[in-house]
Amino acid sequence: MIRIFALILKRDLAVLLLGRGQGSALLPILFFLAVAMLFPFAVGPEPRVLARAGGGVIWIAALLAAVLPLDRLIEPDLTLGAFDQWRLRGIAEEGIVALRMLAHWLAFAPPLMLAALPASALLGLPDHALARIELSLLAGTPGLAALGVTIAAVTAGLRGGAALAGLLTIPLAVPLLIFGAGSLAAGGDSGLALAAAASLMLIALGPFAGGAAIRAARG
């Protein structure tokens, strides 16, 4: 079973990192950087304002970037019939969804955390704030990945599923945003802990909700 999961994870990673020839893992990261770059243009280059708001901007940019790849997470494999073939081989949808969450996080979070370096430079954030942001992203992105895959499973097979997925994800990600961005304020350790807790909860629920959604989509 471990061999099978390793094979599926390897394939998932290849698909998510290199894309299916319709945009790769790089797009959300570029989008993230573009949002971080736009902010100083919009509010002006005042360093105090940027330093105060910059952490929150990075979190919002991360959240928006997380919405971009949603339609590539579950829908293509459902259309291809791959989920049916896995089912026939006795591989449960829950397992596939859990692996997809891991693969999505691996393809999405480390590049995002790397991109947070130039983004924080664009916003003129001090070093200690940058360390804080990286920690909060580490705590919050697993939850974003789990939520993304779950919503992608729920909306797979629906007409206009991609737009609906974004609309559903953003409000449900509000706790992650509050705790993640909140941890950047002074004495934000509890925010960090709560962001990690929200992540853990989404990771624990995601495979079951996503698996049930895929079985229901199959009809």
């Binding site: 094979l7 698909v15 020839g21 291809l80 019939g81 049916d84 026939l88 081989r89």
Partner: protein
């Protein structure tokens, strides 16, 4: 794999799509070496019956008992369109512990292993799906319109593969509106079970 002989049993099966009952009171029993041709007009529920037999859909009424692993070929080959055929088949072969190269050669796809799946014709894709099927250690084959897009030679080959599966103690259920050349095959006409 050979622990217990394969068996496929359906009792009082009913299937509904939306508001419409497609068929009801359908029963069948298949044992080692047996084959069944499911016939009927378009939309009568051939594919739905196969999905019920595979356990991919829940019947409106009745039950399906299956002993043995199921292999399914339908209109979706489950091969990543952006990957070269060899690697797309290799993924499933690795999962199933089989050899994809030999299977691809058997289906006459040896020349196409470097071609991305999206550039294959529908007949070539169907052959690729059959190559995926023969690497899979499944004793029960469910083939949904296996001849669609296949030329005469490939259709002969598909029939031979099904005959081999039956000769080695397997079960084949073929849903097709076309004639399928398989000796000793029973026929089930779904029109007889429409409400």
């Amino acid at each position: 794999m050979q622990a217990s002989p394969p068996r496929l049993l359906a009792q009082a099966l009913a299937c509904r799509r939306g508001e419409r009952v497609l068929f009801a009171g359908l029963g069948l029993e298949l044992g080692p070496g047996e084959a069944l041709h499911v016939r009927g007009a378009n939309g009568i529920g051939k594919s739905s019956l196969l999905r019920l037999l595979a356990g991919l859909a829940r019947p409106e009424a009745g039950q399906v008992i299956r002993q043995g692993a199921i292999g399914l070929v339908d209109e979706r080959p489950a091969l990543d369109p952006h990957l070269p055929l060899g690697r797309a088949l290799g993924f499933w072969a690795a999962l199933d512990g089989g050899k994809s190269i030999a299977a691809a050669a058997r289906l006459g796809l040896g020349e196409l292993l470097d071609v991305p799946v999206r550039y294959l014709s529908s007949g070539q894709r169907k052959r690729a799906a059959l190559a995926r099927l023969i690497t899979q250690p499944a004793m029960i084959w469910l083939l949904d319109e296996p001849l669609n897009g296949l030329d005469a030679a490939a259709a002969d080959l598909a029939a031979r593969l099904a005959a081999e599966r039956c000769a080695t103690g397997g079960i084949c259920v073929i849903a097709s509106h076309q004639p399928f050349a398989l000796a000793g095959m029973a026929t089930l006409d779904l029109a007889g079970f429409a409400p």
